[in-house]
Symmetry: C2
Subunit: 255 residues, 2 copies
């Protein structure tokens, strides 16, 4: 595709949007400030492009230029903070149920929703153990791995072919993934060991809406070494009870 | 500039970024969900462009397609929500000082920072009165009007020509604006009636950092009818004290 064609089809527009999101995604809790060098390396874009993007984003207060020459998220972001928080963050009552579950199990508790072919943590209560599961809030993960995926796909079986196609095992994984989703539905929960990452285990229960549709997955995640038979039996009961409480309290952002 | 030239100079890239921000700015507390029609009208872009932008933003979870055909902010926003909140939102102690000031005065209390030629509210405590000042958090307002501008410009007198040039009175406003900034510095605060909006009054005190630099403005805003002489005297003392407390507590996002 040459420059003229791109302009006509508008591909540059989409590409520019993708670039901006790539660039903004380089800012996270571990990297609240980024140098131009880091942004160039992280995006793979030419320095001139990065400088132009940063200038535009600063002019709109989405980024801010810091006195040390680095960039950080700007105060203009705050206009979406409150709204996105309100749309997606569960109520204090739901957060309290998640805190209790994390305290009872000693593991990290996550609440996932499905967006397209991804699962995204919208609320979290981290384990206080040294070895713990750490998943960033708001970051998409694939549905083909992990306990949450098996639960969330119950509400979207039509996505199985596309989800399988995205997996390392390709389209042929559809049958096995579908069987795992069915098994989780029958059993009431999904339990997964070392599927996405060796040594990581996860347990997921569905959270349903008033029409009994699966709208979220409540998970308990931690090192496989702690997912022993007797502990898992305890995790299962605690998570089942917490998921029912959350379903009764209701979630935002679900329409 | 034609299509080819735009592609070569990269102008379409900047334009696309600006478009995305324009589109995202249409989502606010009053409008958490938007139809394609509203997005087309709000951005002034062709429907095909809006559809393409929405598809790209949905694919990246920045927007979400709702079952009723409208769009809302997506859960991918949450990755920046926590970080931007942490970078810009003051501590609970500062929030408590603002709450006290709002309770003492009965007015809306805002904490502004300067970004470029704008002032932006990063924290707020709304008055509980029926007639109250309502300024959205995270939205840029010009520095040439309002009490906060006179205070924030103390730290950036070099911007006076550019700020004046943006005002309805143009470059010739620089002298008067500069005098107002100087007066606020000498007096210790700025008091403004009906400058940006008839019937709206504001009082602003500087919040300084350890080097005595003005890093924020603490304001009390409300209807001019409540800014009587005796009440203002009370507002001034309460705000002066609160600004000193906030300076002692310190603010985030200030480097």
């Amino acid at each position: 595709m040459d420059a003229v064609e791109r302009s006509v089809t508008g591909d540059t527009g989409v590409r520019a949007v993708t670039r901006v999101i790539d660039l903004l995604e380089l800012f996270d809790t571990a990297h609240p400030a980024r140098s131009i060098k880091e942004l160039v390396e992280g995006t793979g874009l030419p320095k001139t492009t990065v400088l132009r993007l940063c200038a535009t984003l600063c002019a709109r207060n989405v980024l801010t230029a810091r006195t040390d020459g680095t960039f950080g998220l700007g105060p203009g972001m705050l206009r979406w903070v409150r709204l996105a928080g309100r749309m997606w963050t569960p109520s204090d009552e739901v957060a309290e149920v998640m805190r209790e579950l994390s305290r009872d199990t000693g593991e990290t508790v996550n609440l996932y929703v499905r967006e397209g072919l991804s699962r995204i943590v919208v609320a979290q209560c981290e384990s206080s153990a040294t070895v713990r599961s750490v998943i960033p809030v708001g970051v998409p993960y694939p549905l083909w791995a992990g306990a949450a995926g098996k639960v969330l796909l119950q509400a979207a079986p039509e996505l199985l072919p596309a989800v399988a196609a995205e997996s390392p095992r390709g389209p042929e994984y559809e049958k096995e993934l579908g069987a795992a989703v069915d098994a989780a539905r029958e059993r009431g929960y999904a339990l997964v060991h070392g599927e996405r990452e060796m040594g990581a285990s996860g347990l997921a229960f569905p959270v349903t809406d008033a029409h009994a549709r699966v709208v979220a997955a409540l998970t308990v995640g931690g090192p496989t070494g702690r997912f022993t038979e007797d502990r898992v039996a305890r995790y299962v009961e605690a998570t089942r009870s917490a998921a029912a409480k959350i379903a009764a309290l209701g979630l935002p952002g679900i329409d």
